[in-house]
Each structure stands twice: as structure tokens, then as C-alpha cells.
């Protein structure tokens, strides 16, 4: 029942993307160089997340144990 952890952790990646988006808002005069780098990273994350969103299947595994104990 150990599910293989996915290559990216959706929650973590999403959080990082949110942080980057917030960074864009918090910078009054954002540095163009850093902005471009952040933007690039943001796009990369969004791409990976979208890829994960395309996953449609869920696995349902019935547990063998009996619970009447």
C-alpha cells in the first residue's frame, strides 16, 4: 500500500508558485533580471502542475485487514 510518491509534490510546487506570484506583488520596483528569473521558474512550476492536473485516474485499493477486532 505504499503509493509511490509522485515526482513533484503538488502542494509544495503550488505553494512555491503562490510565493513567486506574491513576490511580484510585493516588489514596488521589481528588478527586471530577478523578475525574469522568477517568471521563468513560475512558468516551469505552472507547467508541471498543469501536467499533474491532466492525471485523471485515482486508484482505489481495498484494505485486506479486518476491522472487527
Amino acid at each position: 500500500m505504499t503509493a509511490k510518491k509522485n515526482t513533484i509534490n503538488f502542494g509544495k510546487a503550488f505553494e512555491e508558485l503562490e510565493e513567486i506570484t506574491e513576490w511580484f506583488d510585493s516588489e514596488e520596483n521589481l528588478d527586471l533580471d530577478k523578475g525574469l528569473k522568477q517568471f521563468e521558474r513560475g512558468l516551469e512550476l505552472a507547467g508541471e502542475l498543469k501536467k499533474k492536473l491532466a492525471e485523471v485516474e485515482n486508484k482505489v485499493q481495498e484494505i485486506k485487514e479486518k476491522f472487527d477486532a
Binding site: 503538488f10 517568471f39 505552472a46 485523471v56 484494505i63 477486532a69
Partner: protein, 402 residues
């Protein structure tokens, strides 16, 4: 054959006629209300039960006949007419009068337990944990045969993918239900940390207080309370609250709603992703535009200055062209005139007329007084020149030897 042969409806008529013989106005039935429902705000149905014996009387009445507030678990007395409904073949009591008899024992027990658990802080909002927004593993505790199971999985699939659902099959009602449910909670919570689900879901369809007994059981409530993994409880309809609902970290109204509470929807998240990337892009674009505007301003200024210089040069050149048009021929005439004058005063031409020019030491002699006797002079003719010596000037000097 002596027996009468009846059609089904004919027979049911006979039975109903026989039932009519019960002196209904004198018969009072006492029991506990369960599975109380109002359909279309008009039709009321409920079960009347005995506390100890397993006996159920299906009751039917209209809202207009009901004079008091009735809830599941209430102990009531009813009067009415029993009847078999031909269409469904069901036996029902058409209730004409209903009066409460104190609080139903079940309800009473329920309320007492509820109060006790509340006092212990099992329902406190402050201990409710929030769920992981993007769970990867879900522990599902329900019966594989229940509609709740299908509903939950179906909505889950509609909304989100890539999940692993660990399903603990348990009875959600009946004698084994409590033990199995608490057993499942124990199982999930004793898994090694890395194998534990992100959230546990305990769900079933709705039902009367009787059906929900496991969800109102003290040990189930305590198992939910003790769970280290956040718990979502979703029971059929909201109208049947259960103690499990109150203890749960998140209370869902139905099994489908439980799925909605557990995972986000793809479309929502996709929209959020798009909004975020667009926002970043806009912010960056703003910044680039900011730089661009400065650059544009500077280039505009520079080209403006350049243009003005060019313009000045061009107009100067043009003015030159235009005016030279006027004065060039003039100059030409002037030059020609000058040439004529110059030609007239050309000493050569004067000499040609017979004049001579006298110079001494390269200087033209205009006054005889400036000459000395004996001084050498040069006489320039129209053709050729001659050297001479001054013998006399203005009547003075060496006498003419005549």
C-alpha cells in the same frame, strides 16, 4: 371448490374492510418516532418503534394533522386507521392524532452523550484541523456496498486525479458497525508515518436515528477525536446530525460533499494557475513597459534634436539655393563690367596709344622732382623698354649742348 377467488385488489379491499373493524378511536399506540420525514412540505412519514422489541409501525399523516413539533427519538402516542396501500402493498397507519409522551429514550440518550462530549471539548472549533489542500492519499471508511462509496469515488474522480484511496470496508450500521469503524481508525493511525493517508473520510447515506447509531456511538466519537489524521465525516442528509459530525474536523453534508471537501476541482486549480501566470506576466510586462517608455522618451528626444538640426541645415541650404539664384547672374554681370573697366585701364593699352611708363627701382615715377640728375630710369614702351639717364630736370642740371 368452495373457496372464493379474489383479485389482488379485491383481496386487499377485503383486508382493509377487516382492518376497519378495529375500533381505532379507542386504540392508542405508544412508541418512538424514527426516520421522521416531510415530503413536499405536505406528507409526513415516520416509523413508530418499540424501545426493546424489534417492531416497526410505518406511519403516514399530513402536516395539517400534526399540531406539534415532532423529531426523531420522541416518544409519542398516536391514533389512526391502519391500511394496506394497494399500489405498493404496504401496510401503514394513517395517523389522525399524535401527541408527544416526554422525550424518546434514544433521543434522550443521544442528547445526554452529546452534552457530555461537548463538555469534554470534543466539539471545540479550536481543535478542528484544516485539511491538506492537495492530498495524495485518502483513507476511506465506509461500506463497499453503500451508495455512499460510489458517490464519493465518482465525485473524487470528477474533481481530481492521481490519488490513492485506501478503502477500509466496514459496516456502517448493524451490530458490527461500531467495532469495525473504530478498528479502521486504529488501523490508519498506527500506520508508519510515510504510509498514512493525508485525510480520513467516514461516510454513509442518510437514515433514521436507528440507522445512524454507530455514528452516534461514544467510542466512534472518541476514535475520531483521537485520530492524528484529520477526519471528514459525511452522513446522508444534514437533517440527521450525528455526534460523529460534531467531532469531525470537517463536516460534510453528504458523501459527495465529502469528496468536494477533500479535494479541489481541476478546473478551479487550472484557473488559479492561469491567473497566477497571467498576473506574473502582467507585472513583468508593466516593468518592461516602464523601461520601454524611458527608452522611447530618450530616443524620441534625441531624434527630435537631430531632426531639428537636419531641418536647420536643410532650410539653410535651400535658402542658399534660392537666393543664389538671384545673385549669381548679378555677380556674373558685375564681373563682366569690372572686366571691361579693367581692360580699359590696362596700362598695356595706354602704352599702345603711345604713352610710356617711367620707373626707377621698380617704382613708377610720377613727379620729375623726385628724380636726381644722373639717376638711371627705365622707360617702358608699348613694345620693349629702354634704360636712360637723367641729364636735366625742370630746367636744371647739365646744359644742353646744342
Amino acid at each position: 371448490m368452495d373457496s372464493n377467488v379474489y383479485s389482488v385488489s379485491g383481496y386487499l379491499d377485503l383486508v382493509n374492510d377487516t382492518l376497519q373493524m378495529i375500533p381505532s378511536s379507542e386504540v392508542v399506540i405508544e412508541g418512538e418516532v424514527s426516520d421522521f420525514r416531510i415530503a413536499q412540505q405536505k406528507w409526513i412519514s415516520f416509523d413508530l418503534k418499540d424501545e426493546k422489541e424489534q417492531a416497526v409501525l410505518k406511519c403516514f399523516m399530513t402536516v395539517w394533522q400534526l399540531k406539534v413539533e415532532v423529531a426523531d427519538g420522541m416518544r409519542v402516542q398516536v391514533k389512526g386507521q391502519p391500511k394496506i396501500y394497494e399500489r405498493f402493498g404496504t401496510f401503514k397507519m394513517n395517523v389522525q392524532e399524535l401527541s408527544p409522551v416526554g422525550e424518546g429514550a434514544l433521543r434522550q440518550a443521544y442528547e445526554l452523550l452529546k452534552k457530555k462530549l461537548q463538555g469534554e471539548g470534543l466539539f471545540d472549533a479550536s481543535r478542528k484541523r484544516s485539511l491538506e489542500r492537495f492530498p495524495e492519499r485518502i483513507g476511506l471508511i465506509t461500506s463497499r456496498d453503500a451508495a455512499a462509496f460510489g458517490d464519493f469515488v465518482r465525485i473524487l474522480n470528477n474533481r481530481w486525479g492521481g490519488l490513492v484511496v485506501h478503502h477500509a470496508h466496514v459496516h456502517v450500521q448493524g451490530r458490527q458497525a461500531v467495532q469495525e469503524i473504530t478498528g479502521a481508525f486504529g488501523y490508519f493511525n498506527t500506520l508508519p508515518e510515510e504510509e498514512r493517508p493525508d485525510v480520513l473520510v467516514l461516510t454513509r447515506g442518510g437514515g433514521g436515528l436507528e440507522d445512524l447509531h454507530a455514528f452516534n456511538d461514544e467510542s466512534v466519537a472518541r476514535a475520531i477525536y483521537a485520530s492524528q489524521i484529520p477526519v471528514v465525516v459525511g452522513v446522508g442528509h444534514e437533517r440527521d446530525e450525528s455526534l460523529a459530525d460534531f467531532v469531525a474536523d470537517v463536516r460534510a453534508s453528504t458523501p459527495s460533499n465529502a469528496a468536494e471537501r477533500v479535494v479541489p476541482s481541476r478546473t478551479d486549480v487550472l484557473y488559479e494557475l492561469q491567473t497566477m501566470t497571467r498576473h506574473m506576466e502582467e507585472r513583468l510586462q508593466d516593468r518592461v513597459n516602464g523601461y520601454g517608455q524611458v527608452i522611447e522618451k530618450v530616443t524620441h528626444l534625441v531624434s527630435f534634436v537631430l531632426e531639428r538640426q537636419k531641418e536647420r541645415f536643410r532650410s539653410g541650404y535651400e535658402r542658399l539655393l534660392v537666393s543664389s539664384h538671384d545673385w549669381l547672374p548679378q555677380i556674373r554681370t558685375d564681373l563682366e563690367n569690372l572686366g571691361r573697366v579693367l581692360r580699359q585701364v590696362d596700362p598695356q593699352r595706354v602704352l599702345a596709344r603711345g604713352y610710356s611708363i617711367v620707373t626707377t627701382g621698380g617704382v613708377v615715377v610720377k613727379d620729375a622732382g623726385s628724380l636726381d640728375v644722373g639717376q638711371e630710369i627705365t622707360v617702358q614702351f608699348a613694345a620693349g623698354s629702354a634704360e636712360a639717364e637723367i641729364k636735366r630736370k625742370n630746367g636744371h642740371g647739365q646744359q644742353k649742348l646744342v
